[in-house]
Amino acid sequence: MSDNLIDTSGLSKSYSGSPALRGLNLAVPRGSICGFLGRNGAGKTTTLKLLLGMLRPDAGQIRLFGEAMDSEASLIAARRRIGFVSEDKELYPFMNVGQTIRFTRALFPGWRRDLEEKYMELFRLPLMKAVPKLSKGMRTQLMLLLAMARGAELLMMDEPTSGLDPAMTEDILRALADLATVGQSTIFFSSHQLAEVEQICDRVCIIDQGQAVIDGDLDDLKSQYRRILLTFDGMPPSALASLTGVDHLRQRGRTASLLAHGNVDLLVDQARELGPTSVEVRPVTLKELFLDHVRGE
Protein backbone atom coordinates (compact mmCIF):
# COMPACT_ATOMS: atom_id res chain seq x y z
CA MET A 1 0.00 0.00 0.00
CA SER A 2 1.75 3.07 -1.19
CA ASP A 3 1.04 6.48 0.14
CA ASN A 4 2.82 8.50 -2.47
CA LEU A 5 2.29 12.20 -2.38
CA ILE A 6 3.69 12.53 -5.87
CA ASP A 7 3.16 9.84 -8.45
CA THR A 8 3.76 10.20 -12.16
CA SER A 9 3.61 7.56 -14.83
CA GLY A 10 4.72 7.98 -18.38
CA LEU A 11 4.94 11.75 -18.07
CA SER A 12 5.98 13.29 -21.37
CA LYS A 13 6.38 16.83 -22.58
CA SER A 14 7.91 18.38 -25.67
CA TYR A 15 8.68 21.96 -26.54
CA SER A 16 8.21 22.67 -30.23
CA GLY A 17 9.27 19.25 -31.28
CA SER A 18 12.18 18.63 -28.94
CA PRO A 19 11.27 16.34 -26.07
CA ALA A 20 11.97 17.49 -22.53
CA LEU A 21 10.41 14.53 -20.73
CA ARG A 22 9.94 11.09 -22.21
CA GLY A 23 7.87 8.94 -19.97
CA LEU A 24 8.99 9.98 -16.52
CA ASN A 25 7.99 7.64 -13.72
CA LEU A 26 8.41 9.18 -10.33
CA ALA A 27 7.15 8.25 -6.88
CA VAL A 28 7.67 10.29 -3.73
CA PRO A 29 6.34 8.62 -0.59
CA ARG A 30 4.84 10.53 2.31
CA GLY A 31 7.29 11.77 4.87
CA SER A 32 10.38 11.45 2.72
CA ILE A 33 12.85 14.07 1.66
CA CYS A 34 13.53 13.37 -1.98
CA GLY A 35 16.36 14.93 -3.97
CA PHE A 36 15.77 15.41 -7.68
CA LEU A 37 19.01 15.43 -9.63
CA GLY A 38 19.87 15.85 -13.25
CA ARG A 39 22.01 17.81 -15.61
CA ASN A 40 20.91 21.22 -16.77
CA GLY A 41 18.23 20.76 -19.34
CA ALA A 42 17.46 17.20 -18.28
CA GLY A 43 13.90 18.16 -17.39
CA LYS A 44 13.91 19.06 -13.68
CA THR A 45 12.18 22.42 -13.89
CA THR A 46 9.78 21.08 -16.52
CA THR A 47 8.80 18.32 -14.12
CA LEU A 48 8.13 20.78 -11.30
CA LYS A 49 6.07 23.00 -13.55
CA LEU A 50 4.04 20.02 -14.75
CA LEU A 51 3.39 18.92 -11.18
CA LEU A 52 2.08 22.38 -10.32
CA GLY A 53 -0.03 22.80 -13.40
CA MET A 54 1.92 25.59 -15.04
CA LEU A 55 2.39 23.27 -18.00
CA ARG A 56 0.15 20.56 -19.38
CA PRO A 57 1.65 17.15 -20.16
CA ASP A 58 1.58 15.74 -23.67
CA ALA A 59 1.10 12.26 -22.23
CA GLY A 60 1.13 10.45 -18.94
CA GLN A 61 -0.59 10.85 -15.62
CA ILE A 62 0.10 12.86 -12.51
CA ARG A 63 -1.28 12.05 -9.10
CA LEU A 64 -0.80 14.36 -6.15
CA PHE A 65 -1.94 13.21 -2.71
CA GLY A 66 -3.38 10.23 -4.53
CA GLU A 67 -5.71 12.36 -6.64
CA ALA A 68 -5.44 12.55 -10.39
CA MET A 69 -4.52 16.01 -11.62
CA ASP A 70 -6.77 16.17 -14.62
CA SER A 71 -8.63 19.43 -14.12
CA GLU A 72 -7.93 22.94 -12.89
CA ALA A 73 -10.12 22.26 -9.87
CA SER A 74 -8.02 19.27 -8.80
CA LEU A 75 -4.85 21.31 -9.26
CA ILE A 76 -6.18 24.15 -7.15
CA ALA A 77 -7.19 21.71 -4.40
CA ALA A 78 -3.69 20.24 -4.46
CA ARG A 79 -1.99 23.63 -4.37
CA ARG A 80 -3.71 24.38 -1.10
CA ARG A 81 -1.55 21.68 0.41
CA ILE A 82 1.67 22.45 -1.44
CA GLY A 83 4.37 25.02 -0.86
CA PHE A 84 6.54 25.99 -3.80
CA VAL A 85 9.91 27.74 -3.92
CA SER A 86 10.98 28.73 -7.41
CA GLU A 87 14.54 28.78 -8.65
CA ASP A 88 15.00 32.52 -8.88
CA LYS A 89 12.99 33.18 -5.73
CA GLU A 90 11.12 36.08 -7.34
CA LEU A 91 8.31 37.66 -5.42
CA TYR A 92 6.24 40.77 -6.05
CA PRO A 93 8.41 43.83 -6.58
CA PHE A 94 5.80 46.24 -5.30
CA MET A 95 5.42 44.71 -1.89
CA ASN A 96 7.46 44.56 1.25
CA VAL A 97 7.99 41.53 3.44
CA GLY A 98 4.97 42.19 5.64
CA GLN A 99 2.62 42.78 2.73
CA THR A 100 3.81 39.64 0.98
CA ILE A 101 3.12 37.59 4.07
CA ARG A 102 -0.33 39.13 4.54
CA PHE A 103 -1.11 38.56 0.89
CA THR A 104 -0.20 34.88 1.04
CA ARG A 105 -1.84 34.39 4.39
CA ALA A 106 -5.17 35.54 3.01
CA LEU A 107 -5.17 32.75 0.48
CA PHE A 108 -4.73 29.84 2.87
CA PRO A 109 -7.37 29.09 5.44
CA GLY A 110 -5.02 26.62 7.09
CA TRP A 111 -2.31 29.22 7.69
CA ARG A 112 -0.19 28.45 10.74
CA ARG A 113 0.39 31.68 12.62
CA ASP A 114 2.69 29.89 15.03
CA LEU A 115 4.97 28.73 12.21
CA GLU A 116 4.93 32.19 10.68
CA GLU A 117 6.11 33.71 13.93
CA LYS A 118 8.61 30.96 14.53
CA TYR A 119 10.29 31.47 11.18
CA MET A 120 10.07 35.26 11.36
CA GLU A 121 12.03 35.05 14.55
CA LEU A 122 14.42 32.44 13.26
CA PHE A 123 15.18 34.18 9.99
CA ARG A 124 14.92 37.71 11.38
CA LEU A 125 13.39 39.09 8.22
CA PRO A 126 12.82 42.87 8.20
CA LEU A 127 9.07 43.41 7.96
CA MET A 128 9.12 46.76 6.19
CA LYS A 129 11.82 46.08 3.68
CA ALA A 130 10.81 45.99 0.02
CA VAL A 131 11.21 42.56 -1.49
CA PRO A 132 13.51 43.56 -4.38
CA LYS A 133 15.93 44.97 -1.83
CA LEU A 134 16.36 41.65 -0.06
CA SER A 135 19.44 39.51 -0.67
CA LYS A 136 18.94 36.18 -2.38
CA GLY A 137 19.41 34.39 0.90
CA MET A 138 16.67 36.40 2.57
CA ARG A 139 14.35 35.95 -0.37
CA THR A 140 14.91 32.22 -0.10
CA GLN A 141 14.09 32.37 3.58
CA LEU A 142 10.98 34.42 2.89
CA MET A 143 9.78 31.99 0.26
CA LEU A 144 10.47 29.13 2.61
CA LEU A 145 8.48 30.86 5.32
CA LEU A 146 5.57 31.45 2.94
CA ALA A 147 5.70 27.82 1.84
CA MET A 148 5.88 26.37 5.32
CA ALA A 149 3.56 28.67 7.26
CA ARG A 150 0.68 27.81 4.99
CA GLY A 151 0.66 24.39 6.62
CA ALA A 152 1.73 22.60 3.47
CA GLU A 153 2.05 18.83 3.59
CA LEU A 154 4.27 18.84 0.54
CA LEU A 155 7.09 21.18 -0.25
CA MET A 156 8.41 21.48 -3.79
CA MET A 157 11.54 23.45 -4.39
CA ASP A 158 13.71 24.26 -7.37
CA GLU A 159 17.33 24.51 -6.27
CA PRO A 160 16.62 25.90 -2.82
CA THR A 161 20.20 26.51 -1.76
CA SER A 162 21.71 27.81 -4.98
CA GLY A 163 23.62 31.01 -4.46
CA LEU A 164 23.60 30.74 -0.68
CA ASP A 165 26.60 30.83 1.60
CA PRO A 166 27.39 27.71 3.66
CA ALA A 167 25.98 29.13 6.89
CA MET A 168 22.64 29.98 5.36
CA THR A 169 22.61 26.68 3.52
CA GLU A 170 22.98 24.88 6.82
CA ASP A 171 20.12 26.96 8.25
CA ILE A 172 17.88 25.98 5.38
CA LEU A 173 18.82 22.30 5.65
CA ARG A 174 18.15 22.38 9.34
CA ALA A 175 14.75 23.95 8.74
CA LEU A 176 13.98 21.21 6.22
CA ALA A 177 15.08 18.45 8.58
CA ASP A 178 12.92 20.02 11.26
CA LEU A 179 9.92 20.16 8.95
CA ALA A 180 10.31 16.49 8.14
CA THR A 181 10.69 15.51 11.77
CA VAL A 182 8.17 17.62 13.60
CA GLY A 183 5.83 18.63 10.83
CA GLN A 184 6.11 15.32 9.02
CA SER A 185 6.17 17.20 5.77
CA THR A 186 7.23 15.60 2.53
CA ILE A 187 9.90 17.49 0.67
CA PHE A 188 10.77 17.22 -3.00
CA PHE A 189 13.52 19.42 -4.34
CA SER A 190 15.82 19.65 -7.29
CA SER A 191 19.44 20.41 -6.67
CA HIS A 192 22.94 20.47 -8.04
CA GLN A 193 24.52 20.30 -4.61
CA LEU A 194 25.18 16.59 -4.21
CA ALA A 195 26.68 17.00 -0.77
CA GLU A 196 23.48 18.52 0.56
CA VAL A 197 21.36 15.88 -1.06
CA GLU A 198 23.47 13.19 0.58
CA GLN A 199 23.12 14.92 3.91
CA ILE A 200 19.42 15.53 4.04
CA CYS A 201 17.66 13.22 1.58
CA ASP A 202 16.51 9.72 2.23
CA ARG A 203 15.36 9.29 -1.37
CA VAL A 204 16.89 10.33 -4.60
CA CYS A 205 15.70 10.49 -8.19
CA ILE A 206 18.14 11.05 -11.02
CA ILE A 207 16.72 12.18 -14.32
CA ASP A 208 18.61 12.06 -17.58
CA GLN A 209 17.37 12.96 -21.04
CA GLY A 210 13.79 13.08 -19.89
CA GLN A 211 13.63 9.79 -18.01
CA ALA A 212 14.26 8.63 -14.48
CA VAL A 213 17.43 6.53 -14.43
CA ILE A 214 17.54 6.13 -10.67
CA ASP A 215 14.67 6.37 -8.21
CA GLY A 216 14.90 4.94 -4.74
CA ASP A 217 16.05 5.06 -1.16
CA LEU A 218 19.49 6.63 -0.99
CA ASP A 219 20.94 4.33 1.65
CA ASP A 220 19.60 1.29 -0.22
CA LEU A 221 21.25 2.54 -3.38
CA LYS A 222 24.52 2.89 -1.55
CA SER A 223 24.14 -0.69 -0.30
CA GLN A 224 23.37 -2.05 -3.74
CA TYR A 225 26.08 -0.34 -5.73
CA ARG A 226 29.81 -0.95 -5.52
CA ARG A 227 32.82 0.22 -7.43
CA ILE A 228 35.11 -2.63 -8.37
CA LEU A 229 38.63 -1.83 -9.51
CA LEU A 230 40.49 -4.55 -11.32
CA THR A 231 44.06 -4.38 -12.50
CA PHE A 232 45.39 -6.82 -15.05
CA ASP A 233 48.79 -7.74 -16.39
CA GLY A 234 47.75 -6.90 -19.91
CA MET A 235 44.65 -5.19 -21.25
CA PRO A 236 41.44 -5.91 -19.32
CA PRO A 237 39.44 -8.65 -21.04
CA SER A 238 36.34 -7.59 -22.95
CA ALA A 239 34.36 -10.26 -21.16
CA LEU A 240 34.16 -7.86 -18.23
CA ALA A 241 31.50 -5.76 -19.86
CA SER A 242 29.10 -8.66 -20.25
CA LEU A 243 29.15 -9.79 -16.64
CA THR A 244 25.73 -9.49 -15.01
CA GLY A 245 25.36 -6.51 -12.77
CA VAL A 246 27.84 -4.27 -14.52
CA ASP A 247 26.14 -0.92 -14.96
CA HIS A 248 29.09 0.94 -16.26
CA LEU A 249 32.63 0.08 -17.30
CA ARG A 250 35.57 2.37 -17.70
CA GLN A 251 39.08 1.46 -18.72
CA ARG A 252 42.30 3.27 -18.07
CA GLY A 253 45.35 1.47 -19.21
CA ARG A 254 45.47 -1.84 -17.37
CA THR A 255 42.81 -0.96 -14.86
CA ALA A 256 39.10 -1.49 -15.32
CA SER A 257 36.62 0.37 -13.15
CA LEU A 258 33.18 -1.22 -12.86
CA LEU A 259 30.06 0.28 -11.41
CA ALA A 260 28.35 -2.84 -10.12
CA HIS A 261 24.81 -3.32 -9.00
CA GLY A 262 22.99 -6.22 -7.39
CA ASN A 263 24.79 -9.41 -6.46
CA VAL A 264 28.21 -7.90 -6.05
CA ASP A 265 29.80 -10.96 -4.45
CA LEU A 266 28.94 -13.10 -7.46
CA LEU A 267 30.27 -10.45 -9.75
CA VAL A 268 33.53 -10.24 -7.84
CA ASP A 269 33.93 -14.01 -8.08
CA GLN A 270 33.35 -13.96 -11.79
CA ALA A 271 35.73 -11.07 -12.18
CA ARG A 272 38.43 -12.92 -10.23
CA GLU A 273 38.15 -15.79 -12.67
CA LEU A 274 39.38 -13.51 -15.39
CA GLY A 275 42.74 -13.35 -13.64
CA PRO A 276 43.26 -9.82 -12.34
CA THR A 277 46.39 -9.00 -10.37
CA SER A 278 44.38 -6.98 -7.88
CA VAL A 279 40.75 -6.61 -6.91
CA GLU A 280 39.43 -3.72 -4.94
CA VAL A 281 35.81 -3.16 -3.86
CA ARG A 282 34.74 0.26 -2.74
CA PRO A 283 31.49 1.96 -1.78
CA VAL A 284 29.92 4.31 -4.31
CA THR A 285 29.27 7.96 -3.57
CA LEU A 286 26.25 9.83 -4.88
CA LYS A 287 28.57 11.82 -7.11
CA GLU A 288 29.83 8.67 -8.82
CA LEU A 289 26.32 7.32 -9.12
CA PHE A 290 25.20 10.57 -10.68
CA LEU A 291 28.08 10.99 -13.10
CA ASP A 292 27.97 7.41 -14.29
CA HIS A 293 24.27 7.60 -15.00
CA VAL A 294 24.12 10.93 -16.77
CA ARG A 295 27.14 10.83 -18.99
CA GLY A 296 24.72 10.41 -21.82
CA GLU A 297 26.36 7.49 -23.52
Binding site: G31, S32, I33, E170, L173, R174, A177, D178, A180, T181, V182, L194, A195, E198, Q199, I200, C201, D202, L218, D219, D220, K222, S223, V268, D269, R272, E273, S278, V279, E280, V281, R282, P283, V284, T285, L286, K287, E288
Partner: protein, 135 residues
Protein backbone atom coordinates in the same frame (compact mmCIF):
# COMPACT_ATOMS: atom_id res chain seq x y z
CA UNK B 1 27.69 10.09 22.82
CA UNK B 2 29.78 11.74 20.18
CA UNK B 3 28.29 11.02 16.79
CA UNK B 4 29.92 11.94 13.53
CA UNK B 5 28.53 11.07 10.15
CA UNK B 6 30.41 11.33 6.87
CA UNK B 7 27.65 12.02 4.39
CA UNK B 8 29.64 11.78 1.20
CA UNK B 9 31.67 8.60 1.57
CA UNK B 10 29.17 6.27 -0.05
CA UNK B 11 28.67 4.26 3.11
CA UNK B 12 24.95 4.19 3.93
CA UNK B 13 24.25 6.73 6.65
CA UNK B 14 21.99 4.51 8.72
CA UNK B 15 24.79 1.94 8.83
CA UNK B 16 27.28 4.56 9.98
CA UNK B 17 24.90 5.62 12.72
CA UNK B 18 24.36 2.02 13.76
CA UNK B 19 28.10 1.38 13.91
CA UNK B 20 28.69 4.43 16.03
CA UNK B 21 25.94 3.54 18.45
CA UNK B 22 27.19 -0.04 18.66
CA UNK B 23 30.67 1.28 19.31
CA UNK B 24 29.38 3.57 22.02
CA UNK B 25 27.65 0.62 23.66
CA UNK B 26 30.75 -1.58 23.39
CA UNK B 27 33.03 1.03 24.87
CA UNK B 28 30.56 1.74 27.65
CA UNK B 29 30.01 5.33 26.54
CA UNK B 30 26.37 4.43 26.97
CA UNK B 31 25.28 1.60 29.23
CA UNK B 32 22.55 -1.02 29.26
CA UNK B 33 19.24 0.51 30.24
CA UNK B 34 20.25 4.08 29.44
CA UNK B 35 18.12 6.13 27.08
CA UNK B 36 19.42 7.06 23.67
CA UNK B 37 18.74 10.53 22.25
CA UNK B 38 15.43 10.94 20.49
CA UNK B 39 15.23 10.76 16.71
CA UNK B 40 14.44 14.43 16.70
CA UNK B 41 17.49 15.30 18.74
CA UNK B 42 19.90 13.39 16.56
CA UNK B 43 18.34 14.70 13.34
CA UNK B 44 18.61 18.22 14.69
CA UNK B 45 22.16 17.93 15.98
CA UNK B 46 23.57 16.37 12.87
CA UNK B 47 21.19 18.17 10.48
CA UNK B 48 20.16 14.94 8.89
CA UNK B 49 17.06 13.11 7.79
CA UNK B 50 14.91 11.79 10.64
CA UNK B 51 13.77 8.78 8.61
CA UNK B 52 17.37 7.63 8.40
CA UNK B 53 17.76 7.92 12.16
CA UNK B 54 14.53 5.99 12.59
CA UNK B 55 15.82 3.29 10.28
CA UNK B 56 19.05 2.96 12.26
CA UNK B 57 17.06 2.57 15.46
CA UNK B 58 14.79 -0.02 13.84
CA UNK B 59 17.74 -2.10 12.65
CA UNK B 60 19.43 -1.81 16.04
CA UNK B 61 16.26 -3.04 17.64
CA UNK B 62 16.13 -5.93 15.22
CA UNK B 63 19.70 -6.80 16.12
CA UNK B 64 18.79 -6.69 19.76
CA UNK B 65 21.13 -3.84 20.65
CA UNK B 66 18.36 -1.44 21.67
CA UNK B 67 14.75 -1.68 22.63
CA UNK B 68 12.02 0.75 21.68
CA UNK B 69 9.64 1.44 24.52
CA UNK B 70 6.64 3.16 22.97
CA UNK B 71 5.93 6.44 24.61
CA UNK B 72 9.18 6.53 26.54
CA UNK B 73 11.93 6.35 23.95
CA UNK B 74 14.76 4.18 22.80
CA UNK B 75 16.93 2.41 25.37
CA UNK B 76 20.05 0.31 25.22
CA UNK B 77 18.99 -3.29 25.57
CA UNK B 78 19.92 -4.73 28.92
CA UNK B 79 22.54 -7.38 28.21
CA UNK B 80 25.02 -9.26 30.30
CA UNK B 81 28.64 -8.13 30.22
CA UNK B 82 29.31 -9.97 26.92
CA UNK B 83 28.55 -6.70 25.14
CA UNK B 84 31.62 -5.10 26.59
CA UNK B 85 34.39 -5.53 24.10
CA UNK B 86 36.54 -2.68 25.26
CA UNK B 87 39.47 -4.94 26.06
CA UNK B 88 39.31 -6.82 22.76
CA UNK B 89 39.09 -3.58 20.83
CA UNK B 90 42.15 -2.22 22.59
CA UNK B 91 44.05 -5.38 21.81
CA UNK B 92 43.10 -5.28 18.14
CA UNK B 93 44.24 -1.66 18.05
CA UNK B 94 47.67 -2.67 19.36
CA UNK B 95 48.00 -5.49 16.82
CA UNK B 96 47.09 -3.24 13.93
CA UNK B 97 49.36 -0.47 15.17
CA UNK B 98 52.41 -2.71 14.98
CA UNK B 99 51.33 -4.04 11.57
CA UNK B 100 51.04 -0.46 10.32
CA UNK B 101 54.49 0.39 11.66
CA UNK B 102 55.99 -2.56 9.86
CA UNK B 103 54.10 -1.79 6.68
CA UNK B 104 55.39 1.79 6.79
CA UNK B 105 58.91 0.47 7.29
CA UNK B 106 58.53 -1.24 3.90
CA UNK B 107 58.11 2.25 2.48
CA UNK B 108 54.56 1.70 1.29
CA UNK B 109 52.32 4.72 1.09
CA UNK B 110 49.22 5.01 3.25
CA UNK B 111 46.96 4.38 0.27
CA UNK B 112 48.90 1.29 -0.79
CA UNK B 113 48.82 -0.06 2.73
CA UNK B 114 45.09 0.50 2.90
CA UNK B 115 44.60 -1.36 -0.38
CA UNK B 116 46.62 -4.29 0.85
CA UNK B 117 44.57 -4.33 4.04
CA UNK B 118 41.28 -4.38 2.19
CA UNK B 119 42.52 -7.04 -0.22
CA UNK B 120 43.53 -9.26 2.69
CA UNK B 121 40.24 -8.61 4.46
CA UNK B 122 38.25 -9.64 1.37
CA UNK B 123 40.42 -12.70 0.96
CA UNK B 124 39.85 -13.62 4.57
CA UNK B 125 36.09 -13.18 4.18
CA UNK B 126 36.23 -15.42 1.17
CA UNK B 127 37.97 -18.16 3.06
CA UNK B 128 35.54 -17.96 5.91
CA UNK B 129 32.34 -18.18 3.78
CA UNK B 130 30.91 -21.59 2.77
CA UNK B 131 32.91 -23.46 0.12
CA UNK B 132 32.53 -22.27 -3.42
CA UNK B 133 33.94 -23.38 -6.68
CA UNK B 134 37.69 -22.76 -6.48
CA UNK B 135 39.72 -21.17 -9.21
Amino acid sequence: MNLRIHFSTGVPIYLQLMEQIKHAVETNAIRAGEQLPTIRKIAEELTMNPNTVARAYRELERDGIVEVRHGSGVFVAGQPSSANKTAEIRQAGEVLRSAIERGMALELSEAELRRVFEEELSRWQENVTPPRRQR
